[in-house]
Symmetry: C3
Subunit: 139 residues, 3 copies
């Protein structure tokens, strides 16, 4: 049994947007009780991550850390067609995940208590982003 949908988001530029609720709704509608929910972000300059969902400073600190690991406008980067955040965004997308498979049990996402799903925009400007959700399993 399979249900597949694409969620569309308009980000506000660099930063995180929680998408747990939207994904959970698709899982509930799918009719799958036991199985998996495969999440796939169709972009190479944004990430989909699992992150602590209580204190927003965790996501702010992640931003600080990634700015250090893969800085905008790094003189060592050659790819800057779309600006100083272009290559930094591709690099951050490789360092953080963009494909996550979450288990489904009793018709719901089997996330841990403190886990939320976040779309992490790495580009400075707002972007249209597509997240493909495939729920597979049995009733």
């Amino acid at each position: 049994m399979i249900a597949q949908h694409t969620l569309s988001f308009r980000t506000r530029g660099r930063g995180t947007t929680e998408v747990t609720r939207e994904v959970a709704r698709l899982v509930a509608q799918s009719g799958v009780r036991t199985g998996t929910c495969a999440l796939f972000l169709q972009h190479t300059s944004a990430s989909l991550i699992l992150c602590e969902n209580a204190d927003p400073s965790v996501r702010a600190d992640l931003e600080t850390l990634f700015a250090r690991l893969a800085p905008d406008g790094d003189p060592a980067f050659r790819h800057d067609t779309e600006g100083p955040d272009d290559m930094a965004s591709h690099a951050r997308a490789v360092l953080a995940s963009n494909s996550i498979t979450v288990p489904v049990a009793e018709g719901r996402l089997l996330l841990g208590t403190w886990q939320g799903l976040y779309l992490w925009e790495h580009r400075l400007e707002p972007q249209a982003r597509r997240l493909v959700v495939t729920v597979m399993g049995e009733r």
Copy 2:
């Protein structure tokens, strides 16, 4: 055909614990011969990684590297509610994987010769950790 179980581990604080055997046992018990084994760690301050299973110094070196990339008590981090290893642990969990799907063939995990599955505790103190294992496929 689907079998889903949650494995519980008590870590000894920061460091790696091999979990290949426990996961392999669930695959064998599932009755699935061809398919996938989706592994999902229900936490945001620990990782599940594939690592070379021969020389333990590989995992020690990973610890050294991650201590450099996301150090404990980094003055740039604001989130320190649970101590100097709090944000460093969340950061390391984003840098390393916590959702891995391993193929199943002939009723077994189709790992490479040198691949082991490791639960990587990032917190300094021992923790209870839950790993959800979903085996899907055909007999």
Copy 3:
């Protein structure tokens, strides 16, 4: 419905090789119209990543960045059995992904416009690499 195959590649040493076409062919042959394609690299010193497929300088810049994050011959590393690129390769394999699940729709990989699948060899010398492809879903 499940189809599982292993693709073999001979890399030319450190660098990226696009594998999108080979994977897409297996998806087309599988007969699955809606579902998932689980990709798994059976190695701990190479990665499988999603990357921008237009400008090759993106992959060159990724190499530059990873050389900074996990340098060859780092004096802090103890594991160097197979040379100065040994531990650096394991470290890079943990930082970048080696298990990706791509959705399948209308019998094809549902990749974004600019997404390509790349085998990223981290060892300096050419290697034989195996990528397991498991396509699951319904006709």
